[in-house]
């Protein structure tokens, strides 16, 4: 039915199957829309936040999603600035995933503010001392850059590309893409950092506060570093999941392995810096404020914030994936590669959780106790809403756009797709409408 829109030569699942998938995800989307309506019309009393927990699931989701979307800027940086040419085969997908991560983050921020209609005040009445101001400016600008990087991909759709203007526009945008990649990298270094600065500058919250250089606390650099390390892991993970769902290989192993290797070394150096930071904070910073290290990890009911969380973040989800990814064997073995990228993604999400929620959970006044929090269904649904939107949009993009330059080479149209035939013989792939043309040159 929609074969005229599908890139030349590649195979996609039947339309009914695609619509079934989109319909299932749309169920989650609609659930999120219902919660969104409640939040917008009834206010933030629909959440389980309170005066002790002003920041909660949404802010965590923002920080985590942006860290995971870091694959876009770092892959772009490696491809265009450092010159890792092999990464041209995955940079499109990294940009695509990053774009929807940033759209999700901005959407969640829209729910999170008490007076959404005043959201523009952050630009109009900007306080230059606030890390959130820096986040808002850089994040918005970077979403603009990601949009510019995404547009040429849309223009490569088979039907759109037939229009000479769009064809030429796409070509010319590719020519100058390095400029935008550099701009994106610059902006990302700052907004990833300023997100780290959000807890780092809270000098009256000893768990989050860190010393630093000039106006930047150490968390500024740690957040950028961890996003550069774990963002590409998320890109690899989503690529692998897409390959599993499409039941075919989309990116060559050497490309994945190169990105995994760089990620591994970034993760290894990040986790070393994180350990040094933690030790300094535990031995010097916290005691200077009157706290021992264990004050932050004990005396809370159910040990929600026990020492386990630090071990999980640094040890299990930091050292282990770094050790796997920096070894040749670890990267080449599919099981360990999967394990490493999943752990790295969980690790960076755990770090963001700790740096948002644990900061607020710990009592600072001696006569107060721990504050624990569990999100309401409205918070969960509105957090899943942009995720569902992202899944739908990525699915549509994958179906109709030549996102993976190596797809044709890895899956020649005349070769039978054995895995599909074996797994689900009843699902016949739709034949390409037009005879196979020359594969499109790889474009980023």
């Amino acid at each position: 039915m929609d074969s005229a829109l599908i890139p030349k030569g590649v195979k996609r699942c039947p339309t009914w199957q695609f619509l079934l998938w989109i319909g299932a995800v749309s169920g989650v989307l609609l659930w999120g829309v219902l919660a969104m309506i409640l939040v917008y019309f009834k206010g933030l009393n629909q959440t389980n936040m309170n005066n002790a927990y002003g920041f909660a699931l949404w802010i965590w989701a923002d920080l985590a999603i942006i860290a995971l979307g870091g694959g876009a800027f770092f892959t772009g940086f490696l491809r265009y600035i450092v010159g890792k040419d092999e990464l041209k085969n995955i940079v499109n997908f990294a940009v695509l995933v990053g774009f929807y991560c940033y759209v999700s983050a901005l959407m969640i921020l829209g729910f999170d503010i008490g007076q959404p209609l005043r959201g523009w005040f952050i630009f109009w009445h900007a306080n230059v001392h606030s890390m959130l101001t820096e986040v808002a400016f850089c994040l918005t600008c970077y979403l603009g850059v990601l949009t510019i990087e995404y547009v040429p991909m849309i223009l490569e759709n088979r039907q759109i590309d037939k229009v000479p203007f769009f064809h030429n526009l796409s070509h010319n945008m590719h020519e100058i893409m390095a400029v935008f990649a550099a701009t994106g990298a610059f902006l990302s270094f700052f907004h990833q950092g300023s997100l780290g600065g959000v807890p780092g500058v809270l000098f009256a919250r000893p768990f989050g506060f860190r010393e630093g250089v000039f106006v930047w606390p150490w968390t500024f650099f740690l957040f950028t570093w961890s996003a550069a390390a774990c963002g590409p892991c998320f890109t690899i993970l989503v690529t692998k999941v897409t390959e599993k769902m499409a039941r075919k290989k989309l990116v060559k192993d050497n490309v994945i392995e190169l990105l995994a290797k760089i990620s591994g070394w970034m993760l290894a150096t990040y986790i070393t810096a994180k350990i040094i930071d933690t030790i300094y904070w535990a031995v010097v910073t916290a005691p200077s404020k009157g706290f021992t290290f264990m004050d932050f990890y004990s005396n809370n009911s159910g040990s929600w914030y026990g020492l386990w969380i630090l071990i999980a973040e640094i040890g299990v989800c930091g050292i282990v994936p770094a050790a796997i990814l920096i070894t040749d064997k670890g990267r080449k073995t599919q099981a360990t590669l999967w394990l490493a990228v999943i752990l790295a993604v969980v690790g960076v999400c755990l770090n963001r959780w700790v740096m948002v929620l644990q900061v607020l959970a710990i009592p600072v006044l001696t006569f107060e106790s721990w504050n624990l929090y569990f999100p309401s269904w409205q918070e969960v649904a509105t957090t899943l809403l942009p995720v569902a939107l992202g899944i739908i949009s990525i699915s549509i993009s994958y179906r109709y756009l030549p996102i993976f330059p190596q797809e044709l080479e890895l899956n020649p149209p005349d070769s039978p797709v054995k895995e599909v035939a074996e797994a689900e013989p009843e699902l016949q792939e739709e034949p390409p409408e037009a005879p196979m043309g020359e594969p499109e040159p790889a474009k980023a």
Partner: protein, 267 residues
Amino acid sequence: MKVENAKKFGMVIDLDKCTGCGTCMVACMAENNVPFREDDTDKLLSVAWMRVYRLSNGKAFPDTEECFFPRPCQHCEGSHGHSPCVSVCPATATDYDMETGIVSQIYTRCFGCRYCMAACPYHVRQFNWWDPVWPDGMEKSLNPNVSVRMRGVVEKCSFCIHRYQLAKEKAYMEGRRELEENEYQTACTQACPAGAITFGDLNNPNHAVHQIAQPDNRHGGRPKNPMAFRLLERLGVNTKVYYLSSREWVRRAGDNYIEKEGKVKHA
């Protein structure tokens, strides 16, 4: 920014005198049009600019001692006016006034990001989770000098700054530039039946707050009075609310100490 003849309004609360009656809380709510709900039992969702905590020394009878601890906004100066909440607000909706030392909140500019709440260790900043609903007829008795706040914005104690503005206007009309000590007093100060709260200009040696707390401005305003202390002094927030107590355990409850310093946990 250095302001000539700047005032630094502050408060001294004598914890030995506080009976925990809660009059300060009621007076504050009435004066500042603080909203309340029919069921206001969840104190993490309710709004109270002044809150009275109940502290215990944690000892069994007959050594049990208690202390009621009123907590308004501490109006932190931080370093050069960079109080924890003011420096983080992305929309400049809260401000440190160098002329008065008061941390203000601009309700119509706040868009409810709640970063200031995350920054404040005292929980003095509270969010309007609901629109205010006044019992029938009560809207007629609201204070016309204080704007009511809508859902979705943060609010906090202002040291009754509207009273300062009114007093300044009155003095201006009378051809005076300076206020007498008793011309600007907060609602809680005037309402306290035990006289536990004293308010005035910490920079003015003639004011009672200066004489009681004896702030040492060369050391971030630390009190020279050995009976006086400030909440969470070690964080460097440089607050303008001083507490007095003759009891050692109460003074120690004002800050965190690590084991070797003899940290005391309070109920």
